[in-house]
């Protein structure tokens, strides 16, 4: 259960310790890639809660999304179109949708647990 969180913390720690110099112009693409990866993370969490998790889909989606988002942002810059805004918009919308779904799933799970506990108590009282 704590392994994914440990992974995130380790990643942040390594990213902070390893200073990878990024030119100012590329920081924007990196930000888009970060957004894509966050989208994948939340999508993965959602799929876990919905019980249709597939590791291959998650990993391929993660890499292709991040890379494609960065590439599209770069291409947009070359073409003089702020294409990264489209990426931000798409990933942002999906991110909030996924978050909403996760919240609802958690809420549903919690309500179910409570209901079950109440039912058990009722049963105990009857005994």
């Amino acid at each position: 259960m704590w392994l994914p969180l440990l992974g995130l913390l380790l990643g942040i720690a390594i990213g902070s310790a390893l200073y990878i110099p990024i030119p100012g112009a590329f920081a924007k693409y990196l930000s888009v890639a970060v957004l894509a990866s966050l989208d994948s993370v939340f999508g993965g969490l959602k799929s876990i809660l919905e019980d249709n998790f597939d590791g291959t889909i998650l990993l391929t989606g993660f890499f292709t999304n991040a890379l494609l988002a960065a590439l599209l942002a770069y291409l947009g810059d070359r073409l003089g179109v702020d294409l990264y805004l489209a990426a931000v918009f798409a990933f942002g919308v999906r991110l909030f949708q996924n978050l909403a779904i996760i919240r609802r799933e958690f809420l549903a799970g919690w309500l179910k647990k409570r209901y079950l506990a109440a039912a058990r108590e009722d049963k105990n009282g009857q005994c």
Binding site: L8, G11, I14, Y19, I22, A27, L45
Partner: protein, 244 residues
């Protein structure tokens, strides 16, 4: 705790996300890549450039001021030098008769002896008028005598006598400084009036001879004479100062 099938992929994804996130944050923090910061940076760079420019200009002002000081010093030195030279030049000009001069002296007026000539001609027609005219040599002698008397500036009919002046005869007229003059001849001399008069009063002086001969000559002392400058120019083509 059992390792579920979703643990490993999500861990990998989160790990990479963490790395990316940290890198992006650090990159943004390091580069200050936001437009606002970029603007600030631009302004800072501009200010720095301007400051460097100001510094350069200040340095140039400093050097300019130093050189200006030097030039001014030179100029003031040069001015003194120039003043000295000008004074010297003025003195030399005065000595060579290039300036108008004034001072005490005397004025001699000579005229042809027309009265005597007419009288003589009445007696003896066919007489040549030469003996009754003022000739160049009379003027030359008188000028010479005035110099003996210490004249410092002499003019004949306002022609300044300088060291290159010529006095010679051209028929009925006289050339002084190659300018034709006619009678009456007014000779002005600046100098001590008494000593000038003393020379003229000598029995063998040309003035006295003319007077004895009956020419209408006269002189008068003056405390304030003005003698004009020499109008021509000196040209030395051959004479050169001897080198030491």
């Amino acid at each position: 705790m059992k390792l579920q099938k979703w643990h490993i992929p999500i861990t990998i994804v989160l790990f990479i996300s963490g790395v990316l996130l940290a890198t992006a944050l650090r990159a943004l923090a390091a580069n200050n890549a936001t437009p606002w910061h970029q603007k600030n940076e631009n302004l800072v760079a501009m200010i720095k450039t301007q400051e460097a420019e100001i510094k350069k200009l200040e340095n140039s002002i400093e050097s300019k001021r130093t050189s200006l000081d030097r030039f001014q010093r030179d100029v003031s030195l040069g001015k003194k030098e120039l003043e000295k030279l000008q004074q010297q030049l003025q003195k030399l000009k005065t000595l060579s008769g290039m300036t108008e001069v004034k001072g005490p002296g005397l004025t001699i007026t000579l005229d042809d002896n027309i009265k005597e000539y007419e009288a003589a001609q009445n007696k003896n027609p066919g007489l040549k008028p030469d003996d009754y005219l003022i000739h160049d040599k009379h003027i030359l002698y008188i000028v010479n005598e005035l110099r003996v008397g210490g004249a410092e500036a002499i003019s004949v009919n306002d022609q300044r006598i300088v060291n290159s002046s010529d006095i010679r005869c051209v028929g009925p007229l006289i050339l002084v400084n190659t300018t034709r003059l006619g009678p009456p001849y007014v000779i002005k001399a600046i100098g001590n009036p008494d000593s000038l008069a003393r020379v003229l009063a000598l029995p063998e002086s040309e003035y006295n001879i003319l007077k004895m001969a009956g020419y209408p000559v006269k002189y008068e002392k003056s405390t304030r004479l003005v003698i004009p400058p020499f109008k021509g120019s000196y040209q030395f083509t051959y004479a050169r100062p001897k080198e030491e």
